[in-house]
């Protein structure tokens, strides 16, 4: 078992707590940097997809995992980011300007939904965000001069200072860079005073309020940030798909995002990324399994949403802490080897907490 002695304040501020972490995260970074050289083009594209999902996952994790506000409509912010980015680029705005503007558009949408959302809680908030996403979907369908409705829009490749990123590996590095920035921003946000305030709101709104946390302000901030990050992911997703139409951003996308943060483990950046690997990798796994399954099952069109559903049910029932929680449990088991107690991660509360009286 590793015991950390902190001898200066810098030890608390350092991103890496000990040499082991430096080594393993360095190895991961190096592996990701050389991956396009070693992997076939198809898998490079799939990795880029996972990075995009991870960016959106971090956006949603800030909202659900750290602040405890459930959103069932984050696909809408992705749609806003994707359409803003694509529309601006087709109007001749360079990618480096259109990309942040896409995030800004999603941020503004986030603030707009945050103002009424501040008055709601729990289930009402979830359903209001769902309604919001349905409304955005209809706007995308009907606002044809801008979005071209069901015809869809082709998305030109992103360009960096006049140099078009047409190759798969170039786009891979773009996504990797954005993901790295978002991860850094996310880690720093959740350990800043703002992040602590968000966690306080998640654990108890009443105590957070009593300790002087301005609920309205912090909820608006987290909605805006979460929407902006998700909007950036949407802009990248548009480039990845090369063609966007309203049905790419339907209810299922919002549910996939939700699945990501739940499967990965709520309340950790690691969880968002593990969840993205899971959700991004599942279609591939299904495609590989199709050859071994009986034809009648393998050819069912609804197989993928059904499997998503099944996995979510099993995770909620048997591993509420998600993949990252499972990893922490395994690590704790070996850290304290013969002394691991199952109750270490057990929930204290085992009764229904009423939300009727707030």
């Amino acid at each position: 078992m590793r015991i950390l002695f902190k001898t200066s304040y810098v030890d608390d501020i350092n991103l890496f707590q000990h040499q082991g972490q430096v080594f393993w995260y360095g190895a991961l970074a190096a592996a990701l940097l050389v991956a396009p050289l070693a992997l076939p083009e198809f898998y490079v594209g799939e990795l880029a997809q996972i990075f995009i999902l991870a960016i959106a996952g971090i956006g949603l994790m800030l909202l659900i995992g750290y602040t405890g506000l459930v959103s069932l409509g984050h696909g809408a912010f992705m749609a806003i980011g994707a359409y803003t980015n694509t529309y601006l680029i087709t109007k001749g705005v360079p990618f480096l300007a259109a990309f942040p503007l896409a995030g800004l558009a999603a941020l503004i949408a986030g603030v707009i939904i945050a103002v009424p959302a501040n008055r709601m809680s729990g289930i009402y908030l979830a359903i209001a965000t769902l309604a919001f996403s349905q409304i955005v979907e209809q706007i995308v369908v009907r606002w044809e001069p801008v979005t071209r409705g069901f015809q869809g829009m082709p998305v030109p490749p992103p360009d960096l200072l006049g140099y078009a990123l047409t190759q798969g590996w170039q786009f891979y590095y773009l996504c990797l860079a954005v993901l790295a920035l978002v991860v850094l921003a996310g880690i720093n946000l959740v350990r800043s005073p703002t992040g602590r305030a968000l966690i306080a709101i998640r654990d108890s709104e009443i105590s957070a309020q009593s300790l002087g946390v301005n609920l309205f302000r912090y909820k608006t901030v987290v909605f805006a940030l979460s929407a902006a990050i998700t909007g950036l992911a949407g802009a990248l997703l548009a480039h990845r798909m090369r063609f966007i139409s309203p049905d790419a951003f339907n209810f299922l996308l919002s549910i996939q995002l939700l699945l990501m943060v739940v499967v990965g483990g709520l309340g950790s950046i690691h969880g968002a990324i593990l969840g993205a690997i899971f959700v991004g990798g599942l279609p591939q796994a299904i495609a590989l399994m199709r050859d071994y399954l009986p034809a009648a099952i393998a050819r069912t069109p609804g197989l993928e949403p059904g499997l998503f559903g099944l996995v979510m049910v099993l995770i909620v029932l048997f591993e509420p802490l998600g993949l990252y929680g499972r990893w922490l449990k395994i690590k704790a088991y070996f850290d304290v080897f013969p002394l691991y107690r199952r109750s270490t991660f057990k929930r204290q509360r085992s009764y229904l907490k009423t939300e009727r009286v707030r």
Binding site: G68, M120, A128, Q209, G302, G306, G309, V313, L317
Partner: protein, 291 residues
């Protein structure tokens, strides 16, 4: 004028379906504080089971109806007893996520068993029957939904107010602990409520099936019914049916008089407006705890 009247009847019929699905939400929410996002999918499953009973196994309409309701009641009971009871104590969004994913699972399951093509529901005693009320031609399909809802609402009222089990359910939903101390078997009551709510969903589905198509994506009606439940405030059963009527009528009117696209979102717009003005619903019974 005649057209408006016909639209209104159509809207009320549609609204009754929303109201009935929403009734299922509210029954479960009042008793267990769980929000069942799979309610629309329970309706869809109920419709498919009834379809199988009537069309495939050649049962009489009423017999098939009853068999489907019974089968779904057992299903609802087991769902609570085997799955949902296990997550009591987890945060509320765990329930949201669990029921949403159960919805996906049911939809996939229905697609697997009955196929993803739309099916036409077999003829019912109401098919192609029309009635002429003062020059307005109304079809029995729609009237049967309205009548069915009225009868069901009356039965539920009698059940909750005049039977032992209904009273126990009310007691358990008002205060589980107190009800438990008084000898109400709360766990079993909760499972029975799930069964009741599955029956209501099946009735909604079977009444609705003749004027809609039968397909797995019918479960998405549950989302609109949710708007009805929110407008009704998740509190009173009658408020919920009223919420359903508001949604159904405004949707039908929007389809006729507003630009395309509004039909799909008018339910959500109404709900958002209600949530902004009264964050806990129009007819809600929620109180705020003073710190």
């Amino acid at each position: 004028m005649v057209e408006l009247f016909q639209l209104l009847v159509g809207g009320i019929a549609q609204g009754c379906v929303y109201g009935l699905i929403a009734l299922g939400f509210v029954l479960i929410y009042k008793a267990t504080e769980m929000v069942n996002f799979a309610q629309g999918d329970l309706m869809m499953l109920g419709t498919f089971v009834a379809f199988s009973c009537i069309d495939t196994w050649g049962m009489n309409y009423w017999l098939g109806f009853a068999a489907a309701a019974l089968a779904m009641a057992v299903f609802g009971y087991l769902l609570d007893a085997l799955v949902l009871r296990r997550i009591i104590g987890q945060p509320q969004f765990a329930v949201v996520i669990l029921t949403i994913s159960m919805g996906f699972l049911f939809r996939s399951f229905a697609g697997f068993i009955w196929g993803n093509e739309t099916l036409n529901f077999p003829d019912t005693p109401f098919t192609n029957q029309i009635v002429n009320v003062g020059g307005v031609i109304l079809s029995w399909d729609r009237l049967s939904i309205i009548l069915g809802t009225l009868i069901l609402a009356a039965l539920l009222y009698l059940f909750f107010n005049y039977t032992r089990l209904g009273n126990a359910m009310q007691a358990a939903s008002q205060n589980q602990l107190a009800a438990y101390y008084m000898g109400v078997r709360v766990k079993r009551i909760n499972s029975l409520i799930w069964a009741l709510s599955a029956i209501v969903a099946t009735i909604a589905g079977v009444l609705f099936a003749p004027i809609s198509l039968v397909e797995p994506s019918n479960g998405f009606y549950g989302l609109k019914a949710f708007a009805a439940a929110v407008i009704g405030g998740f509190g009173s059963l009658m408020g919920t049916v009223l919420g359903g009527l508001i949604i159904g009528v405004s949707e039908t009117l929007a389809a006729r008089y507003l630009p395309p696209g509004f039909k799909e979102i008018v339910a959500y717009l109404l709900m958002l407006v209600v949530l902004m003005l009264r964050p806990h619903g129009l007819f809600s019974t929620l109180q705020r705890k003073k710190v």
